[in-house]
């Protein structure tokens, strides 16, 4: 089995348009959640979200590209560019033939669906743009990344709701570890902040109207975000041979299915995924210094997740740090694990733990060190990143300092 390392990272989200900007915001505990701005927002009960600001597609992409790139693809390409430039990789020959792209998204081109349904149903038009289908399809982003960077190996899109990115990164990891691919572009993207995208979530009655306060006793629900996170996963010897700057090692992963309920989380399913990731990475639970929580800020997730952590880590649960950066960037749904992996990389590489902001009141059911409100300096050797999706599908990644 090969070792797998990360040699490039890119992002765009409500905290920043790059990795350095995002990490700075996480260090400072800034909140990217604001009043939403888009057509018909006044008809929503939920009017806040982690919306990407100041992102002008015009100027970045030409007219032909614009007609093919939904906002989730635009986010993906922006993040992929940053990640590939950082890695220094140029794909040609055998490297290009064997390297691919595995990305996660829950909804794909949601705003393209929204705009075109509006056009035919509300505006009564009988004709839509010829590229609606290639623009909205869930694999559009992965395909455009493969075309842009000449990635001709295994490429596809994974859609497992809120765990999409983690499932995608786990699969990319497996491909590099097995030797099937020398490098993989992976991560995920989501752009659901449009009228239909928020209205659908509103119906479930689990959204907060004011803030995302994970683990806080007065938490009252989740807040949506948008954006992308993309990484270059590379075989260790390949990275070393070319003198690449290695951000951290991806040491293992596990996936599990609750096989129980379509929306309610399960402590057993979450525990099995965390314990499985450690076993896969051949790590002891006591080595874990930081957990990037799924931490949605709903009543059900946070207490279930804390109970699962207590089960898996025993006494050590009181010594480790666990934070939810969703408090800052919101829940990026299918892209969330990718953006949250950045907090793990920051913990391992810079020794800075991103906080859980908006924390106001301790909850006895979430009695862990949730790094409330202020970032903290700490040396961390191992971090894990949790994602527990609707549908009971869980994916946890384990990362190591290098």
């Amino acid at each position: 089995m090969k070792r797998v390392v990360i040699t490039g990272a890119g992002t765009i989200n409500s905290l920043g348009h790059s990795v350095p900007d995002t990490l700075e915001a996480m260090r400072e505990g800034r909140c990217g959640i604001t009043e939403l701005e888009f057509r018909d927002v006044e008809r929503l009960a939920i009017k806040i979200g982690g919306q990407v600001r100041g992102f002008e597609a015009e100027g970045r992409f030409n007219r032909q590209q614009m007609s093919l790139y939904d906002r989730f693809t635009q986010f993906t390409l922006t993040a992929a560019k940053e990640a590939i430039e950082q890695s220094g990789l140029v794909f040609h020959g055998d490297l290009a033939a064997r390297s691919g792209v595995v990305l996660g998204t829950a909804g794909g081109g949601v705003s393209t669906w929204d705009d075109n349904y509006r056009s035919v149903y509300e505006d009564g038009k009988n004709r839509v743009h010829p590229f609606v289908v290639p623009k909205l399809m869930n694999n559009a982003a992965a395909s455009h990344v493969s075309m842009e960077y000449n990635l001709k190996g295994p490429s596809f899109t994974v859609s497992t709701a809120c765990a999409s990115s983690n499932h995608a990164m786990a699969l990319a990891f497996q491909m590099v570890r097995s030797g099937a691919a020398p490098a993989m572009l992976t991560g995920g993207s989501e752009s659901m902040l449009c009228f239909g995208g928020v209205k659908a979530w509103e119906g479930l009655r689990v959204m907060s109207k004011d803030a995302c306060r994970p683990f806080s006793a007065n938490r009252n629900g989740m807040v949506q975000g948008e954006g992308a996170g993309v990484f270059v996963f590379e075989e260790y010897e390949h990275a070393r041979a070319r003198g690449a700057d290695i951000l951290c090692e991806v040491a293992g992963f596990a996936m599990s299915s609750d096989a129980a309920d379509i929306v309610m989380p399960s402590k057993q399913g979450a525990s099995r995924a965390m314990a499985g990731a450690l076993a896969d990475a051949r790590l002891d639970a006591n080595q874990v210094g930081y957990i990037n929580a799924h931490g949605t800020g709903t009543a059900a997730n946070d207490k279930t997740e804390c109970a699962a952590v207590a089960d898996v880590f025993g006494q050590h649960a009181d010594d480790l740090m666990i934070s939810s950066t969703k408090s800052m960037h919101g829940h990026l749904i299918g892209g969330t694990g990718a953006v949250e992996l950045l907090a793990c990389i920051m913990a391992l590489r810079e020794g800075v733990i991103a906080p859980t902001i908006g924390y106001e009141e301790p909850d006895p059911e979430c009695a862990l060190d949730v790094v409330p409100n202020d970032a903290r300096e700490a040396k961390v050797d191992v971090a894990i990143s949790n994602a527990f999706a609707f549908g009971g599908l869980n994916a946890v990644l384990a990362l190591k300092r290098i």
Binding site: L204, R205, V206, S208, R219, N220, G221, M264, T298, A299
Partner: protein, 85 residues
């Protein structure tokens, strides 16, 4: 049908029971309605009466809308319907 009968019909349908099995002091738990069933019932009631019910599944007790039992739910809806006019 009265507001009460209409609400009971919706709750009974959600619980897969006859309306006669739904009494004012039945709790949702008694009727076998879980949190997802509750959210669905609230949606159906909002549609039936064209009202908005203030209910957040994260903090049912903090909502102004009392869901202790069927009688409380009916009273809450009668109030919202009266306020609408």
């Amino acid at each position: 049908m009265s507001i009460s009968d209409r609400v009971i019909a919706i709750i009974a349908e959600q619980a897969v029971l006859e309306p006669s099995d739904v009494t004012p002091d039945s709790t949702l738990e008694d009727l076998g309605i879980d949190s997802l069933g509750l959210v669905e019932s609230i949606f159906a009631i909002e549609e039936e009466f064209d009202i908005s019910i203030p209910f957040n599944a994260n903090e049912p007790s903090a909502s102004d809308f009392d869901i202790t039992n069927v009688a409380a739910i009916i009273a809450g809806i009668e109030k919202l319907v009266a306020e609408k006019v």
